[in-house]
Symmetry: C2
Subunit: 401 residues, 2 copies
């Protein structure tokens, strides 16, 4: 069994230090974060599938691909170092090299990550000066500062830790993330950094992360866009002395905790989506295949018409079933039912049984679940989305990413 810790963060995990500072990439807010492990870590990562990949993505993917050990993650906000050509790659490597030198680790042991404006050169003087400062400020409780420093248009900090009891003792997992705009499934869809004091070898560490990301970060939607910079990493330093072994009940327990952490992180991103005022869980069940369930849920969570109806507290099941219909997935609309929380809205053969007053009281809540029961199989899929508000338009018409 796992449990969430209060004020949990990446430094709630033994052997990890962190810091978050302002170095001048942004005008005033914190813009540089560093997560550091006192000992060598195995690491896993998932990266954006966008064909246009920021320089730090290219650099960090190589580390993960080659199953290198890792000691630190350096993250800046305010500048994405994306669409910056050869100079961008040089800059990412220079930051990585300098950070490694000051931490006295190998260059390839530093994962690098950036988020912010696309297409502008990194202000390397500020960046290098920042690296010099931040490497001197690592502390055992710096996780929340790091969580703050990776934000862009986010309104709230996103930080968690979870403890799980295994057969030979407890291990801890911590995670920080940022999201806001440009959130859409397929792949990491934002930045997330997870630490654990369990020991996990390759290839298991990557399998665990990929599976957890697939059912959490890859199932959220704010606006259907996918960024050039998205990544989620997991660092395991083994300081707990507990090894996660494939096929054991400990592995299942650890995965359960990792997935719960990832889902909490992902939901926090949706809840804080640009202009969002509601978190809506979309649960598609009794589909013929998991793929059909996924495709239909994805189409619903990405439909602007569904998202604006949710914003307007309109019990518009027509838009929901229409979004399912355009998905291309196999299902029979005649067998389909729709529920808001436990309240039936539509029953098979298009029986609209909607009680407008009760539906409204659910739609007005900050969080609720839309269940689409296809009545035609046994597979299901759960996704998360937010409403589409006028504030989203305002933020994105005026902010240059």
């Amino acid at each position: 069994m796992y449990q969430f810790l209060s004020n949990g963060t990446v430094t709630s995990v033994k052997g990890f230090k962190a810091a978050g500072i302002h170095c001048g990439i942004k005008k005033r807010k914190k813009d540089l974060a560093l997560i550091y492990s006192e000992t060598s870590c195995t690491a896993a990562g998932t990266f954006t599938l966008n064909k246009v990949q920021a320089a730090p993505i290219q650099v960090s993917k190589e580390i993960i691909k080659n199953k290198k050990t890792v000691r630190a993650v350096l993250v800046n906000s305010g500048n994405a170092n994306a669409c910056t050509g050869e100079q961008g790659t040089k800059d990412a490597l220079a930051a990585q090299e300098y950070c490694a030198k000051l931490l006295q680790v190998t260059q390839s042991e530093v994962i690098v990550s950036s988020t912010g404006v696309i297409g502008q050169a990194m202000p390397m003087d500020k960046m290098l000066h920042g690296i010099k400062m931040i490497t001197g400020r690592l502390t055992d409780d710096g996780g929340l500062d790091a969580a703050e420093a990776i934000l862009t248009t986010d309104l709230v900090m996103k930080s968690w830790a979870v403890e799980v009891s295994l057969s030979s003792g407890k291990v801890t997992l911590g995670g920080i993330c940022k999201g806001s705009g440009m959130i859409m499934p397929n792949m990491a869809t934002m930045l997330g950094f997870i630490t654990t004091d369990a020991a996990i070898e390759h290839p298991l560490i990557q399998e665990l992360l990929s599976e957890a990301v697939n059912k959490s970060f890859n199932r959220i939607s704010v606006d259907g866009d996918t960024s050039t910079n998205d990544m989620v990493t997991l660092m395991a330093n083994g300081v707990s002395g507990i090894q996660i072994v494939k096929g054991t009940s400990d592995e299942a327990l650890f995965f359960e905790a990792l997935q719960a952490l990832c889902i909490e992180m992902a939901k926090s991103i949706v809840r804080d989506g640009e202009g969002a005022s509601k978190l809506v869980t979309v649960h598609v069940k009794n589909a013929k295949s998991e793929n059909d369930a996924c495709t239909i849920a994805q189409s619903i969570v990405n439909s602007p018409l569904v998202k604006t109806a949710i914003h307007g507290c309109d019990a518009n099941w027509g838009r929901i079933i229409s979004a399912a219909g355009k998905s291309g997935a196999e299902f029979n609309p005649d067998l389909t039912s729709i529920y808001f929380d436990e309240l039936p809205i539509l029953l098979p053969n298009y029986q609209a049984v909607i009680d407008e007053e009760k539906a409204l009281s659910i739609l007005e809540k900050d969080e609720f679940t839309i269940t689409v029961d296809l009545g035609d199989g046994q597979c299901d899929s759960t996704w998360w989305t937010c409403d589409f508000s006028q504030a989203y338009i305002k933020i994105n018409a005026n902010y240059r990413t």
Copy 2:
């Protein structure tokens, strides 16, 4: 050569009459349209690919599939007759039957079409009373009334006619359409009804319409959603005495006129998209394959981040290339250039050459073109989109489709 006629409409074409009236499905506005040919027509149609298809779509698809002759199109707005189950089909057939009876034609000669609220039973008493009224009001210049009666959240009427000189004389094409929300490629994406006095046999009539729709109505985006009710039909009554024969230069000239008409209709829908203030042409060129060009253009025209940037007059080429990158199409971002009208914004190897002042003067126009030159092939694709405004959210949070 073709030319557009002033105040052109479906009744600008010889042998067609039309009418548009208010029968009470909507509170005050016109809500019932009828287009009628004095003689028998061949007909073609393209229909929504949504798995959830409104009753009139099912009824009308059968007519086109079986290559039946056609005499009329009956269209109501205000109620989509979608997600209405068996009763919906009965209602669509009853309307078709009654209309055919009053027009003294065969039941299968009446195409039926609906647009409006989903999931509510058709008010058949009003509908049948309306059919009785409208069949008595057909006139030679009723096309504009019909154009008005098919609108829902549209702000302007959409009606055109084009004349084309062929080897043995002139033929005319007329078209009316409605769009607004729920506009997205794949398939007809809205309602469009085209008439012509040319004679065109099967299967050529369907080939010509499908090809023209594919490069017009299927290449527009307002909000990425696809309706349950979309259809475009072409009726050819042959009254001009001029036959379009496959493989002739007349066929090419006729197709050119048909395509120009469809593009004008499609663009008018984007221009009047819910909350839209700009019409933007997205031209992707020098792609390796037409499919790559299409996929990239589609991803750009559907990106909420691109559409909000356009709304905010932000020369945000990063969002454009990022939207291209997430499309999944094959291209090399390093070779890509971006232009606003003739102004270079991005040159290969991520050279941002943007002149902010000149870019702004283009972005502030009502209409402009974004050209994405992939520099890697010879294929191209042209699409149309509008900006995403706060008004879009407002309209769709408060209107129940």
